[in-house]
Every structure is written in structure tokens, then in C-alpha cells.
Symmetry: C2
Subunit: 338 residues, 2 copies
Amino acid sequence: MRGAVLYAPRDVRFEERDVPTIIKSTDAIIRISATCVCGSDLWPYRGANPVTEPTPMGHEYCGTVEEVGSEVVSIQPGQFVIGSFFASDNTCPNCRVGYQTSCQHSEFVGGAQASLLRVPLADGTLVPTPGVPPEDLIPSLLSLSDVMGTGWFAANAANVQPGSTVAVVGDGAVGLLGVLSAKQMGAERIIAMSRHQSRQRLACEFGATDIVTERGDDGVVRIKELTNGVGADAVLECVGTQQSMMQAIRSTRPGGSVGYVGVPHGVELDGEQLFYSHIHLHGGPAPVRRFLPELIDLVWKGKINPGKVFDLTLPLDQVGEAYRAMDERRAIKVLLRP
Amino acid sequence: MRGAVLYAPRDVRFEERDVPTIIKSTDAIIRISATCVCGSDLWPYRGANPVTEPTPMGHEYCGTVEEVGSEVVSIQPGQFVIGSFFASDNTCPNCRVGYQTSCQHSEFVGGAQASLLRVPLADGTLVPTPGVPPEDLIPSLLSLSDVMGTGWFAANAANVQPGSTVAVVGDGAVGLLGVLSAKQMGAERIIAMSRHQSRQRLACEFGATDIVTERGDDGVVRIKELTNGVGADAVLECVGTQQSMMQAIRSTRPGGSVGYVGVPHGVELDGEQLFYSHIHLHGGPAPVRRFLPELIDLVWKGKINPGKVFDLTLPLDQVGEAYRAMDERRAIKVLLRP
């Protein structure tokens, strides 16, 4: 079996890997229908996270169950399934309150940029679709594995309500799907912060009502201008840098909420500034598993089409080009077919 | 008129001050029935905040309206009133959503440790009691001006619900009233973190079900032990130091909430640690005005008795001793009568 392995910054190779097998009786093996490159894959690709050893890449997946371990009861071979990038038992106290990415037995699912994948804790992690999906739903279903679930969590964590005024910091795939999520949750006004035309266009298609091209202090000033000097009710932080985090916090009205899902890199928050901002802050690794049944239903019924964030599709053996296209921002998000 | 003025760390003087007068047509003048020393008064008293000029002290008050400006319509001379330490118009967008301490026209109310006080924005700031209160309700009504409203906001910001497991970091008057607030909101289990017997006793009287004497890492371990390894649903942070804030965050279960009301001094939060904690964080200067009608009602009907936090009452001219008693932790909170 061949799959993507990162050896060093900008050195991703498509090479022979061991075929995954059932290791624990709670595992499942999935034949990947589609996978993709995540914004978070770019951190080690760019050298922002260290690469200490050759690392099989990819954690977004959907596909058909090939085999299950002896203890798996709710998933059968032949089913089409989607799972989160974190495996979870879905029964521990943290799972039961909807924080499956803090599962007491969570395991990161890595190596999905390949033709086969081992998924631990299959009963808790995988959710089957109502049937074998038509080809045109595959991109949207794939997106639920991480990027759409993460945009949805950003909007959920920012407490987007019908009628809310929302601002979205970050025009990557997560930010764009944050726009779609806010729209779906009934936001009245959605301000997308973006300076790239193709991304602005998709943001508008997903429901953005305003575009702000300014960043940092200037971006905050523009958000305040657009909200009678008060700030947005809900701000989705979808980047993870000090600048984007402060832009989000300062764009939020007192009593409003920041939902942050960009993995923080070097972010330090000043306690006093946060205190006087009067905002609600919530976020973290998106508990995608919580949202999978609802999001599968929305995709299946054609109510949302998050697969539109994939603006480039490549065969899996061109995974190197996929990373380059995203790194150079030539593509928003690249879908890979084994 | 005489009042308390802070000249330098530990140099608080009771001396002649100008009688306050109506300056703006929206002001009121109050004859103080009772005032007190706040935990936050101890920051400059101890030199942790700079004292740049002689500063009239005190911001907690209740009393009888003496005079109102020409534009004041809802408050009349002779009424007994309580107000927040921040004056607010109660009509701006931030006030309308319940964040009166972020009022677009807010003004800090200072100099309440005196016999008379000017309160700006009287219509928006002051709430009258149903009638002239009996003497025994004065301590509880005074507490609503800040300390009880702040403890209540901590519990509100930490999303305390019926059946919640709550932990309270800090055994000062705010923390103790956080315990009372959590109890009133229906918490099932309330863990007070305190190593002082008299404060532990009052915490238990207010509704604490468990006492934890350990601090820092050891305190977190104890909270985890008491909550099946998961952490508390809601944690009230009522101190404002780096240690207390981290103790609060780390004692909270994934998906749980920290309500923080201790004014942060030198607090820096690591973004990545916060991200993976999966907690909700909310707090700031308590919007006491939001809660005044409800809390006045609870005190008036005898359902809560927050005035118990005053374990020492002194005549106002002994204000110096009041500061010393609180600084040396001989008293939890000192009530002063002009």
C-alpha cells in the first residue's frame, strides 16, 4: 500500500507503507474513498511544528469498512463511514457531554492519506451514512471528518444564534465553512475577513454579507464601524496566531463570544485585557463526532454543500503537488482520491 | 465632610473632603447608610497598584437619596437606593445586553467611604429598594453594590446550573458569596478551596459541601479526585493571580466553564494550554446592575443573607483599622457606618 509520509519540512513522499491491520479488537480497517490535506498539515510542512521522525500524514477520511475487530458491534464491513480525526469511545464522561476530542481514551487517527486506514475505537468513532453515497456527495461527506466539523464547532462555540452578527477571522477552508455554519445557524449578518478574491467569492456563496479586507487593528476598526461601534455578537477565530486571536477578541462586543478553532501557535493572552473585554471564550480541537449525525443528515438531504471548499482534486499519488498548492495558496483545499 | 483618602501604600487617612454636589444634571447625591472595604482596595493599599495621587477610597454603597439633578426622572429624594461601583446609563447597546460595566458612558464611582457620595447617571445606576429597609437588612443590601453581585456574576459566568458540581477558588468575601450564589442557583455539590477555619465555616454555612485545603497542582489533583477524575462543571475564580487562574482552568472538566471575577494581576494565559483544556472562559468586572433587581428581591424576602460576610463593623472614622484588619486577614470584610 502506498501513502504520504512527511520526512522534513516540504519533503512529503508518496511511498510504500505497511498495510494496516486490526491491532485491537475495537479497531476497524477502512478503504479510503477520499482524503485531503488539512491546514494543520501545513504547520509541520512549513517547519512551524518539528518533524522528529518520518510521519504518515492525513487525518481526514471517509470510505468503506473492510474489516472490523471482534468487539466491534455497531459497524459492519461494507458500510460507508465517516469518522473524526480523533478516535473516541463515545461513552466516557467527556464524550457523554459532547467533548469527544477530550475522550479519556482518545487516539489521534493518522496516516489517512493512503488507500487503507486503521481506525481505533470504531464503535465510538465511526458514523455510517444512510446508504452508499452518490459520487457527488463524497466531497461534502469527506469535509465532515474535520474541516466542516471544525467550522461548525467554531460557530457553535461562538454561540451563533438566529439573528446574530458574526465575524469570521481566517479565509482558509475552516473559516469559509465557519461562514456556511453561521448561515445555517441563522446568522443575519456574516462578515468574512479576507483579502483573496476567490475566497471572498466562496464566502459570499456560503452566506457572507460583508467582506473586510483589513487585518489587525485596521480590521478591528472596520468591524466596529460595521456594528455601530459595538463589535460582533460572535467571532470565529480560524487561524491560530497571536494577531488573529487578538483580532477576534477585539472585534467582539462585550458579552459576545469568540469561538476559536485555529490551533494556537505562540499565542499568549493578557489576563487583564481579556477581563475588560467581557467576552466569552471557548474552543479547542473540534469534537467533530458530536456533530456527525446532524451534519451527515444535512449533507444527505442536500441542505448544505461544504464540499465546495475543495477547489482542486488530484489523484493520491500527486499528494506532493497537493501540499504545494495549499502552501502557496493556489488552492483553498485539495481533495485526494486513492 | 470627612472621608477615606489613600496617599500611599498603607497610608489611608480619614480627613476633610469637599462635600459632593450635583455636577451634571443626571447626577444624584446619596447620604451613605453603610459602606465597606473591598478586596480590590487592598491592591493599591498593598502597593500592588500604584498610588499616583491622593485618592478618595470606596466604591460600595447604599443609602438615601438627598438630591437629584434636573434630568433624573426615576429616582427621588428620600428613596433608599443601591448602585454598582460602575455608573451606567442602562440604555446603550452594551447595557441592554446586560454588560453595564462596559457601558459606553460608564464612570467609576469612587469616594464612597464618606458620608455623602455623588453618583453619576443616577437613572441608569441606582435601584431603589421596595421601602426604607429595616436595620438588619443593611449589610446584605450593601453587599449587593459589589461583593455579592460579583460572586453572583462569577457563578453566572461559570454557567452554574441545577445539579452542577462547582469549585470555588478564593475564600475572600467574593469567593464565599460565590458559594452562596452557586447554592442559590441549584448546584448540587460545591467545593470551597480554603485553608482558613473561619472562612471554611462560613463557606459551609453558605452551602459548601466539600472543603479543599490544597492549592496549585495539589488543589487540582484533589478536585479531580472528588470528581471521578473529570473536573468540576463550573469553577469560580475569585482571586486574580496566575496561580489561582491556572488552578481554576485545570480544575474544570472539558466543556465546563470558568467564571473569573478576580481582577487579573500579571496573568498570562498560554493559548495552546487553554485550547486543549476545552473550557469556556468568561468574566470581567461584574455587571452588578443587571442583577440588582433580582438580588434586592432575594434579600428583601429573606431568601439570602449575604451580609454575613461582614464579620467586623466599625464606625467610618476607624477606616484605617478596617484596612489593617482586612490586609492582615483578621477580618473577611469590614462594614463601615458613617
